[in-house]
Symmetry: C2
């Protein structure tokens, strides 16, 4: 199981603020699934909320609508191959956990599993907005628990040291960017 | 005026897919403004749509609600200081264009000005969803025109060559990441 520490809810937006690609994990009844999503973002600080696009044709959509829960898992470059694969095939056709060697561990507040090897995790409960779910495939969630691998994110800050795992940003066609150099602007 | 070429609407999601921080420009009547937003994302491919969080207390909110239009401008690291400043002070207190030396040029389809020196531009018309605007400060827009500086984005792809301007990703407290190294995963 990934080593992880809780992230204060007031700081958990920082896990997503730089726009990384995420893996959305979900469960309903005995069915679990994972898909990739480049389209997610923070929505509010307190209580923390997120927005994510979940296509109507996905198994994830069915599980999230059924359970009212999902998790956003932030993969590192080491997981890019599994991330691309998780975004390319439906969980209706394939057990993506088994096919891509993805291990999971139990979340604290929700039923969806969390993905081993990720850098951060946001456990979310759907804020039901049926009209925009239906019209735009857009789901809003309140973050009810958050975690990070302290080698990558500690005391509310990402620490992407040279040679250490970094988050990734999907472009298209199997191409990603790594999260790059950090810099500071004096206010 | 920035050198720019049109971006096919079917490819314009790629300007935002990697989660860069944007500058939101807006105009209503004779009032114009610009603010920074780390919380934006693509929402659909065709017709292309975007989502962006615009706080209810901002001048931008008033201009976007008044005009039904906004532009997302994608700044480079060279514009990080102006981006931070544009996110820190209200346009009610300061002419941010003048204060930060931001030049603009006319958009093609909307009244909001586009910001010189950016890497890409998305001209958007609000898709009115009063309930989520009011409840979550969340605005959805259809992209009606898109542009990019061909030195940074060409033929539907970002080309961040060594030493050339790159997009940026805001974290918190004046800290940003640059968009990092590109890599490809074979499907």
């Amino acid at each position: 199981m990934s080593y992880r520490l809780p992230v204060e809810l007031s700081k958990c937006y920082r896990l997503l603020n730089h726009g990384p690609t995420v893996l959305v994990s979900s469960a309903h009844g005995t069915t679990v699934n994972v898909m990739a999503a480049a389209w997610s973002m923070p929505l509010d600080f307190s209580p923390p909320k997120v927005a994510v696009v979940i296509d109507r044709n996905t198994l994830t959509r069915q599980l999230v609508e059924g359970s009212g829960e999902f998790a956003l898992n932030i993969p590192s470059r080491e997981m890019a191959k599994a991330t691309l694969a998780a975004g390319s095939v439906s969980g209706r056709e394939l057990d993506k956990f088994r096919a891509h060697g993805l291990q999971t561990f139990a979340a604290d507040k929700i039923g969806a599993p969390l993905l081993d090897g990720c850098l951060g995790w946001l456990e979310c409960r759907v804020l039901p907005e049926p009209q925009i779910q239906d019209r735009y495939d857009l789901f809003l969630g309140e973050v009810v628990a958050a975690w990070a691998d302290p080698r990558a994110f500690r005391d509310g800050h990402w620490l992407f040291e040279e040679g250490q795992p970094r988050s990734i940003h999907y472009i298209a066609g199997g191409n990603f960017f790594e999260t790059g150099t950090e810099f500071e602007i004096e206010k």
